[in-house]
Amino acid sequence: MLSPEVARSVIDYALSLGADFAELFVERQLRSTLTTLSEKVDSVQSGVEFGIGLRMVFAGKVLYGYTNKPHADELKRIANELAVKDRRDPKVVATAFDFRQVEALHSGLKPLSADAMIDAKIEFLLAASRAAQRAGAQITQTKGTQLQREQHIALFNSEGLHVEDTRHYVRAVMVAIASDGSAQAHGQKDMGGLQGWELADAVDAAALGAEAGRQALVNLSARPCPGGEMPVVMGNGFGGVIFHEACGHLLETTSVAKKASVFHDQMGAQIAHTKVSAVDDGTLKNAWGSINIDDEGMATQRTQLIKNGQLTSFLVDRLGSEKTGYARTGSGRRESYKYAPASRMRNTFIEAGDDRFEDMIASIDRGIYASHLGGGSVKPGTGEFNFAVQEGYYVENGKILYPVKGATLISTGPKVLKEISMVSDNLELACGMCGSVSGAIPTTVGQPAIKVDRILVGGNA
């Protein structure tokens, strides 16, 4: 994609301008997307993306530029333009490249570059669609999306790093829409992994569609949700978005280094209930948020973030390490060559506990069981977060009574982590996209079912 000779000349040039550190991120990505509407193929698209990102660091200041042109002259022009206010005598001499072979931890048996397999993908989505329609006569429409990407990256830096990697991503989403003639509601189920289309061999398309259809019908019959502070049991799997928003983002050195996280000075402190242990693990085989190396070329790892409620690690990228003094955790990630890397999550989840789900529900006098959560967001500086309940039920006197709709949960990270009083043993992971300063990246969230003793439920009953 870019010869080491060209990379060498550009990095040498960047250092000659006085940079302390220089790095090239070269990316070529194949992409295929198809969508279905009920029984018909709605769109089929594909594309090739290519570009090079140049990062230079001058005394902690980041200069970043990118281009689609893989020529030394163009890259040097960008370096020159970026350094216009920072040029100084050279401080660092580049180290010779030492090419390192990346250990491929994740399979890509049916890669996009070999065969887009559009027929098979269409059949997968249509099978899911038919199953969703079979969920009930009130299912009026389905929308299927299938995405496959193959990302080739090469990294060169002034410390002699030269490493290349290939990442295969597959994802499918089925949305079912239900209508009773006046009201409409939807349900959604998705799957994804860091692997080729062979993922479909392990997934039952009909089960995917049936789940989307079931959820749409439940939501169509849901009543407005009561509001107020109350206990909430959050289901396993995508329920882990609560930890992602309430805590994960606040542990990224992108926020910590700027003291823009409420946890920036809490290392070693008891920030959560003793039942809470959490990790961010980039090594899980074929998991959606896994990587072989991060986007700064460091091998990924399993990072214990919280152990028995105590903060044990941040998520640390190169610059975060320089600014905070904590060791890098292989967490430098970016959407594409258009973004400088930043510390980001990979597969982040609360570890299994030993409480029983039935006991959680039985312990509630008046509250909510949020079996499936939607997305959310957080303000790292204040820790305020919110997320939507995609499928929820009203619970009274220890019994699940009826489905509710229109519920949002809000709180702050420090508060909710201490309100998690029960953690069950049914750990499950779910895939999602996380948007932040370095773009939208694949991340996994997860948890066993947990009980939060008090959280504000925004409803409209």
């Binding site: 969508t35 509407l37 018909k40 193929v41 709605d42 769109s43 089929v44 698209q45 594909s46 594309g47 090739v48 993306e49 570009g51 902690g60 200041k61 980041v62 200069l63 970043y64 530029g65 990118y66 281009t67 689609n68 960008i78 333009e81 970026l82 216009v84 206010k85 559009i118 429409q141 829409i177 409409q184 509601a185 939807h186 949700c225 509001g227 107020g228 700027k258 003291k259 823009a260 409420v262 400088a340 997305g375 967001s377 303000k379 790292p380 500086g381 204040t382 305020e384 919110n386 997320f387 709709k405 229109g406 519920a407 949002t408 809000i410 504000l456 439920v457 925004g458 409803g459 409209n460």
Partner: protein, 443 residues
């Protein structure tokens, strides 16, 4: 190679395959500056190009894109688009429009001459950060930036249509973190324009500081039903989350609840929504849509009655109605529909009348992407803002949620403001509305 040459080459190859096509080409150059601790912390300079091809072959549509413009990459893109087309269900209504002629958006204010140098821009953003840091109770300003983007959007088709619009957007923002006794709060100051001189550092600082400090003292209000006014940014964001209701494409896909309501009273009769693509005061100005049609004002709702949905040529043909020139397509996406610059026309209520009695003014909405259900109209989001009583701001509010149903809410109108206001990004211009009886959950 110029965009014209790329287009001629690609369209020639497509024609050789007995197909027709159009090409979207997007070019941009951008500068981003961020400050930290009184100095420049990030400096980013970027240039990008992407071409998106849509082919129609035997009634089937396929798409492909490329960021590389060498012959091999472009031929690969054409081949991919033609292969993709074979898999799509035959489209009875989606065709490459048979329109021709070359037109450029000539409005000079889209790309004003501006010789502001990099030093002035660096000083601007560093100055904002320093000014905020110097004020009482500000711990830091973790999020701030000045971004300056010049972009060109061009379209070429097999029938000789070529449209092009070049424009610039410059924006600055700052989010100071206010702190007092362990409590923290954050609110933005944002400005956008087409010329550097349109940005006012003092206004950004004052807005961000005042709102952050005010929120710091805020807390939840009693749960209940409240009259609510959404500030210009939040009203635009909320309507943006429900933009599906205007979409002819969503109607064609049977997921738009407005599909069968043409000519019916859908909202309060005091509401008039108009899309104004060519209001040059806005940063969403678009002279052409993504199929090369010239844009014009379109009345969507008049006195509460739905007059039309937004259409591209395919959805218009499907419903056998007029094309409203709302085709939307990025290089990587399929043909869709989108508004340009939504306007909500002014009513007759003065600001004092809007704030009579007790009303909750929502200045920030959190979780819109997940807390809104465009198909059902339900929404439930985190909110902050101010409680007003008899024309006075009496309390800062945070830690609450506001919930309702958007389609019902537009029939719960108490009054419509007599001034139209742009949101910070100047993408929509709307009169504020006071809505009755939205559910607020607090303490």
């Amino acid at each position: 190679m110029s965009t014209q040459q790329i287009a001629e080459k690609v369209l020639h190859w497509v024609t050789q395959q007995n197909a027709e096509a159009d090409l979207v080409m997007q070019t941009s150059q951008s500068l981003t500056l961020k400050a930290l601790d009184g100095r420049l912390d990030e400096h980013s300079v970027n240039s990008s190009f992407i071409v998106g091809l849509r082919v129609v072959s035997d009634g089937q549509v396929g798409m492909a894109s490329s960021e590389a413009v060498d012959d091999e990459s472009l031929k690969f893109m054409v081949g991919q688009a033609l292969i993709n087309a074979r898999f799509q269900a035959p489209q009875q209504h989606e065709r490459i429009p048979q329109i021709s002629g070359q037109e450029r958006a000539e409005e000079p204010s889209l790309l004003p001459e501006d010789d502001t140098d990099i030093d002035a821009k660096i000083n601007f953003i560093v100055g904002i950060e320093q000014e905020l840091l110097a004020r009482e109770g500000i711990r830091n300003v973790p999020y701030n930036a000045l971004s300056d983007v010049t972009y060109t959007q061009a379209l070429f088709n097999s029938y000789g249509r070529h449209t092009e619009q070049q424009a610039r957007r410059i924006m600055a923002y700052a989010y100071p973190l206010a702190e007092n006794n362990g409590q923290t709060a954050m609110a933005p100051g944002v400005m956008a324009g087409r010329h550097f001189l349109e940005l006012n550092a003092e206004q950004i600082v004052t807005t961000a500081y005042d709102d952050s400090r005010a929120l710091l003292a805020g807390g939840p209000i009693q749960s209940g039903q409240y009259d609510v006014i959404f500030a210009p940014n939040t009203q635009a964001e909320l309507l943006g989350a429900f933009s599906l209701m205007w979409s002819g494409k969503a109607a064609m896909d049977q997921v738009n609840p407005m599909r069968d309501k043409l000519g019916q009273a859908v909202f309060d009769r005091r509401l008039n929504f108009v899309d104004q693509p060519r209001n040059i005061s806005g940063l969403g100005y678009e002279a052409f849509d993504a199929e090369g049609f010239c844009t014009a004002p379109v009345t969507l709702v008049e006195h509460g009655v739905l007059k039309t949905l937004a259409h591209n040529s395919a959805t218009a043909a499907y419903f056998d109605v007029a094309n409203t020139a709302h085709a939307q397509r990025s290089a990587k996406a399929a043909l869709s529909v989108g508004l340009h610059q939504l306007h909500l026309l002014a009513g007759d209520a003065s600001p004092d009348q809007l704030h009579e009695g007790c009303v909750f003014e929502v200045t920030q909405l959190d979780g819109l992407h997940s807390g809104t259900k465009p198909i059902s109209g339900d929404f439930s989001c985190g909110a902050s803002g101010y409680l007003w009583r008899n024309g006075e701001r009496v309390q800062s509010v945070r830690g609450v949620t506001v919930a309702g149903n958007l389609y019902q809410m537009f029939n719960q109108v108490v009054t419509v403001g007599n001034q139209m206001l742009w949101n910070d990004s100047r993408s929509s211009c709307m009169a504020p509305i006071r809505f009755a009886d939205l559910s607020v959950t607090g303490q």
